[in-house]
């Protein structure tokens, strides 16, 4: 059916999420593997990046890029991310719709083949990845890990996550660790690769005019030929801590101009209520620190003029809320106090119908526009990968629109402060 999501089971734990439509100029295909986030995520984190460099038919990065250029500049992008304590490895492609090809080639199907070649027929020598590629990719992984420090917003956020979730797997960096990356070998990466394909929860998302049945059949063939032994996928589980006990405080210094304040809260969700409470928590977080109508924007920025940005974000898979702001060192206490005041004010019932309306209207807009780009449609299927039940944006929106003031107040009451991280700038201002 046109313009709706369809799910096809290809093998145990391997699904195709397709969304057929003719309204775009492009198509989109992504290959996603979900695995438990390991304490040291290095061996899995490197996989999409090393696969992205070559395959048996195109054994160098340059050869592979030439092939992509010939496919009208199709893009191939590797990435890793965390969804709670699930590690998601991803390779995604965007290509022109086949109708624009100059020689009647079915571009989307050609790209699907190339993507499956990259995943199932890597440039390996028996049971090992190519030594030279491994050496180079390890350095690039270290660079990626190091580069996060260049962006102080990301750096401060990572530090807060690490401190807050010190004894939870969530504290792992999705890129791995310096030592873990250094210890990787052509053989250990190959073992991780085999394990990922055999035990990971896999989805291939297809958006555009492509024939998804044909892609499903192709995927089945690749799995068979590569002798991937699929039974059931590994169990994916995220520990959720409902409430914080005592507040952890860490202050660090770096030679930068602007200080960064990051506050981590436990959202009062549990593993059982994580999906049912999502809509309420989403609206609460949005009113607290989402759009320009939110309490944090209106007060910490507009009224008190303390910062350029101050916002709150719900990490639904982990049941935590993160507040971030860039401020002068000497304003840290004032800002922290005001952020907590705003939360307390919500918990005390200081909320109107207008607040709910602003938030649900903005969320309605955000969810409705999710079907306007192939990338967003793919991303929606992607974030649903580990959910128990697949929901469409429309279905989630319906729940959001039923949220009441009382529910938001009750949700705000359950939020507890866990960690306050302050990155102090030691650079003298100009």
């Amino acid at each position: 059916m046109e313009n709706s999501y369809e799910i096809t089971q290809v093998a145990p734990g391997v699904r195709i999420y397709s969304y057929k439509t003719s309204r775009f100029k492009t198509g989109r295909i992504s290959f996603n593997i979900a695995l438990p986030l390991e304490k040291d995520a290095s061996r899995n984190a490197i996989l999409p990046y090393i696969l992205n460099r070559s395959c048996r038919d195109y054994p160098t990065y340059r050869e592979l890029n030439k092939k992509l250029a010939g496919l009208y500049g199709a893009t191939l992008t590797p990435s890793v991310s965390k969804a709670g304590e699930t590690h998601v490895l991803r390779l995604s492609m965007t290509m022109i719709d086949s109708k624009f090809a100059l020689d009647d080639e079915d571009i989307i199907l050609s790209c699907a083949k190339l993507l499956f070649d990259i995943v199932f027929n890597p440039n390996t020598d028996k049971d090992e990845f190519c030594e030279a590629e491994v050496v180079r990719e390890k350095q690039l992984m270290l660079d990626r890990l190091e580069s996060e420090k260049n962006d102080k917003r990301v750096y401060a956020l990572r530090r807060c996550e690490q401190i807050m979730c010190e004894n939870e797997r969530f504290s792992s960096n999705a890129y791995g660790t310096t030592d873990g990356i250094a210890a990787l070998t052509p053989k250990s990466i190959y073992e991780a690769y085999k394990n990922a394909l055999e035990t990971g929860l896999i989805s291939v998302n297809v958006v555009g005019s492509a024939n998804a049945d044909e892609i499903a059949r192709l995927l089945g063939e690749y799995i068979t030929k590569a002798e991937i032994n699929r039974t059931a996928h590994v169990e994916l589980h995220t520990e959720i801590i409902e409430n914080a006990d005592e507040i952890k405080r860490v202050e660090e210094e770096l030679p930068v101009n602007q200080g960064k304040l990051v506050m981590g809260f436990r959202a009062g969700m549990t593993e059982d209520t994580r999906e049912s409470e999502y809509a309420v928590m989403r609206v609460m977080t949005d009113i607290f620190g989402g759009g320009t109508y939110s309490r944090l924007f209106m007060n910490v920025r507009e009224k008190m003029s303390l910062c350029y940005y101050c916002s709150a974000r719900l990490l639904k898979d982990k049941g935590i809320i993160i507040v971030q702001s860039g401020i002068e060192n000497e304003n840290a206490q004032t800002a922290e106090k005001e952020i907590l005041n705003q939360l307390e004010s919500l918990a005390n019932g200081n909320i109107t119908k207008e607040d709910i309306k602003s938030s649900t209207l903005a969320l309605r807009e955000a969810f409705t526009s999710l079907n306007d780009t192939p990338e967003d449609i793919d991303a929606w299927a992607f974030i649903q990968l580990t959910s128990q039940v697949f929901e469409t944006p429309q279905e989630v929106l319906e729940k959001i629109e039923k949220v009441t003031e009382e529910q938001v107040v009750a949700a705000a009451k359950r939020v507890t402060l866990d960690t306050v991280y302050m990155l102090k700038g030691t650079q003298e201002g100009e």
Binding site: Y72, A132, N150, Q258, E365, D372
Partner: protein, 425 residues
Amino acid sequence: MENVNIREIKNELLGDSYFEIDHKSGLKILVYPKDGYASTYAVFGTNYGSIDTFIKKRGEDAVPIPEGTAHFLEHKLFESEELDAFERFAKTGASANAYTSFDKTCYLFMCSSNFEQNLGILLDFVQHPYFTQKTVEKEQGIIGQEIRMYQDEPSWQVLFNLLRCLYHKHPVNIDIAGTAESISHITADMLYECYNTFYSPCNMVLACVGNTTVDEVLGVVEKYLEPKESIATERADYGEPFEIVSNYYEEKLSVSIPLFSLGFKEHADGELSLKDRILTSILLEYIAGDTSPLYERLFSEGLINTSFGSEYFMGPGYRAVLFSGESRDPRAVESAIKDEILRIKRDGIDPEDFERIRRMHYGRAIMDYNDVDGLANELVASYFEGYHLFDEIDAYKTITVTEAQTRLCAQLDVDNCALSVIKEV
């Protein structure tokens, strides 16, 4: 509609059309309906950005204004004596924003319902400035923090350090937001003066893309656009010489891997044709894109990582080719790029590689026609730059390898370039 001239601009290949409307007020309106889309994206922009550090009305002397005024004005226009623009959009759900670049200031929103109401708010708030000394002072605190944030962004600093190496006088070498010092001189009166000069309909454009129609847009424009005197302004001649200021600058910041930006300055007088722009983008791919031998070599030697890229950086009075990325040895990257430019200038361009890159760029150009936000912003940019949106996709069909060769010889002067580096503290 009376007094409006509507032209449909079609592209057979894409199967799309947009409409160009000359409104009687002097405002240019561009409407690009997209079938099957839920959302609409609207941009209301003025041809006034950070490089406009002077008010110059036609026939009058140039009057200097503080650096960062265009950006400051952008922040302040959201305010009003009653409900500010953000509060008004909160009642409709639209997400609104604004940005200031070197040469323009744009206000925008995206929505999937209440389009007419939202467009009314956009037109209304941009036409009704409200500044007081008190609100100006409040904004100095917020923008002061925005400036501080950018001072800690190595990629931003490496670019502006480079621009200060390349440009003597052209204000592209100053930060878009200005400095804490420069914005401290901004007053409410100054903002009104800039507003009245640069925000006249003949200096502005409205672009709407997505789930909308010409009639719908014009209906709202008729209702909300108020007559206003059109003031003709000119961009100052900055008297920028061809030569660079200095060929190297280094700064220490808290970074893990050094960042670099290598810029080749060009003459920037006369019109730059769209064809020459496209040829340059193909040349950059040919010289240093991820299908090039140079990229393969630098990459396998560990001299660059995946952050490496190139761009043609140009606007009113400035043109330069930039290569940027992270490297532990920026000097080695610089010399490899220069050597490769000289080699290709000497050996010529391989026709087969040229064809492949042409095909790649043709595909990438088509890919740009999906997103309503990208298209609306591109409609505004192409209008201010003096060409039609679809011209680009057509230009890919006609360019030749000989033209690319000629273009290469006219740019990328290895004796007129500078390297900016950010090293770890």
